[in-house]
Amino acid sequence: MTVILNEGDSAGTTGAASGSPVDAAPEPGKAMTRGRLVLIRFMRNKLALVGLVLIVGMYLMAFVGPFLSKWSYDTQDYSAFLEPPYADHIFGTDKIGTDMFALTMRGLQKSLLIGLLVALISTTVAAIVGATAGYFLGAADKALMWVVDLLLVLPSFLIIAILSPWFRGKSWFLLVIMLAAFQWMITARIVRGMTLTLKEREFVKAAKFMGQPARTIIAKHIVPNMASLLIIDATINVGSAVLAETGLSYFGFGVQSPDVSLGTLIGLNAESATTFPWLFLFPAGFLVVFVLAVNWVGDGLRDALDPTSTRVRRKEKKDTKEKAA
């Protein structure tokens, strides 16, 4: 998460040169970078802050938590089978005596890792494909947009499920590739549209006439100017990737044993949820809270990064009115 935020700051400074005067308005006289403004706006959004804390907390918990527990996912406690949560096993145990906390953390690790990787890959692909199609137009554009349309028609859930016998027993990274392959299309279209307008702007034309190669122009001038969109997109994609992965894993079409994800845990224990609720509630709870936190952060980022977003505007107007009074 912090990585993405830093990216936003640096992108903000790049954008400040071309930033509209409205962005720098609130404190006249004092130089205010766009990055700082975005940060201030984001911090004002309580839900987004809560979401950010939750996300960072969950990543920490998933990767550090297992070291703090005395139980591990591959050892069994033969004195506790199907025990509800108590002091020794805070999340209870399953039917072979495995500690549910250790299992849940292991599933959380995989799900969060898959979510992050899919988001990074799909947003990168979307930026490259969209910007290339929009910048060069012509045959490249036609071909790329045809692929986009085709992939949009295919229901990704169905296709990945059909392909699941093929990646059974292979690395879970294949699943990451598959999920990413079906998540970049809509963003690529938006990026293409934005590139079309950006490439008519003076600074892009100037770079072009100075003899910069197209690759440099796209990487240095076009993509950084869409940083806000890409950051929001990457954030929201983490959530939808986790949802897609857990959905597939629920049926056994996603993460395959011996790997464990939140989805496989939920799928395994949903049947017995009415009799042994703790087996289901802990993995499901982590999943819902994580996706909820991602959605809050995504919403907060959109409000903070998009100068036309109404909610922040209204608040700012109110603030300036209060200051004036």
Partner: protein, 325 residues
């Protein structure tokens, strides 16, 4: 108008064919039904494996297999399963089961979703708006398989506290149920409530968000002020002029929503033990059965594209500009 709708229909038929072809090709390429057969204990004789290969047309190239299957489909024959049962026999019943669930779920979802969105927009930043926002945020972050299982647990709790089995959450009807048609209807209703709620809740959350923002856009428009200025009551202006305009962008969403619903329906059917199309897809992929998978894909494609076409019709009905062009 008729020409426009006809053109769209042709476009959708082509898309459905492409989607089915791709699903069929991918399934044929990845599935290995003979491998499943060979792993049986005791292993079947080579002659019967050869016969099975011929039955499944595995000796032919994949495009030819598709043509064979498709020419059967055109005549109403969807081929046979791996276990050599005709698919057509089961198809009608399964479609009936799925559609009963989907249509009821989507109707309730659209009605209440639109209503909730309109109310939130009209009473923006009031308690009801914040409550609706939180409600839909949480529901949108909850995958269907978690929601379904939670509702199942809730239904179990209600049944326990009442002391009788009012909300039944296994199957779509009581097997061997005796009684007149009225009692049959009651029995079906008892089975319907929890699964329908599972589907409807997610849909309500999804539509209400979009309806809220599209209604907010309309609320600020000039024509609404004019309508009130010329003497319409606020209620009349809001519903006759406001809602109708705000529904136009929603028409496209209804089509997308149906796509979501079909995937969500797969989970719902599995959780509540309904033997519909979604359940069949999971069975088909697990059994590595190409014909079942392709049949379900065709069904999904027809559903999604038909709802897309319906959205076009709705669009034309709501927006007079489209009818003129």
């Amino acid at each position: 108008m008729a020409g426009f709708l006809l053109r769209r229909l042709v476009n959708y038929v082509v898309l459905a064919l492409v989607a089915t072809f791709l699903a069929f090709t991918l399934a044929s390429a990845t599935f290995d039904p003979i491998g499943v057969l060979q792993q049986r204990n005791p292993p079947p004789p080579a002659a019967s494996i050869e016969a099975k290969k011929r039955d499944l047309h595995l000796d032919q190239p994949i495009p030819q297999r598709f043509v064979t299957w498709m020419s059967g489909v055109v005549q109403g024959d969807f081929g046979r399963t791996i276990t050599d049962r005709p698919i057509t026999d089961e198809l009608g019943r399964r479609i009936g089961v799925s559609l009963r669930l989907f249509l009821l779920g989507i109707t309730i979802g659209i009605l209440f979703g639109v209503l909730l969105g309109v109310v939130s927009a009209i009473r923006q930043y009031k308690f009801s708006d914040y409550f609706a926002t939180l409600f839909s945020f949480i529901l949108l972050s909850t995958p269907v398989f978690v929601l379904g299982t939670l509702l199942k647990m809730g239904a179990q709790g209600i049944n326990d506290s009442i002391g009788s089995n009012v909300l039944i959450f296994v199957g779509e009807e009581t097997p061997g149920f005796q009684g007149n048609w009225f009692e049959h209807l009651g029995d079906r209703l008892q089975h319907l409530i929890v699964p329908t709620l599972t589907i409807a809740l997610g849909q309500i959350a999804y539509y209400s968000r979009y309806q809220r923002s599209s209604m907010l856009d309309v609320l600020g428009s000039d024509f609404l002020r004019t309508a009130q200025a010329k003497g319409l009551t606020r209620r009349k202006a809001l519903f006759k002029h406001g809602l109708r305009t705000a529904l136009i962008p929603m028409a496209t969403l209804f089509a997308f929503g149906f796509g979501l619903l079909v995937v969500g329906g797969t989970f719902t059917e599995r959780i509540f033990g309904w033997f519909g199309m979604g359940d069949w897809l999971v069975t088909g992929i697990s059994a590595q059965d190409t014909n079942i998978t392709a049949t379900v894909t065709l069904f999904v494609a027809v559903c999604v594209l038909f709802s897309g076409w319906l959205a076009d019709v709705l669009y034309a009905a709501l927006d007079p500009r489209i009818r003129v062009n």
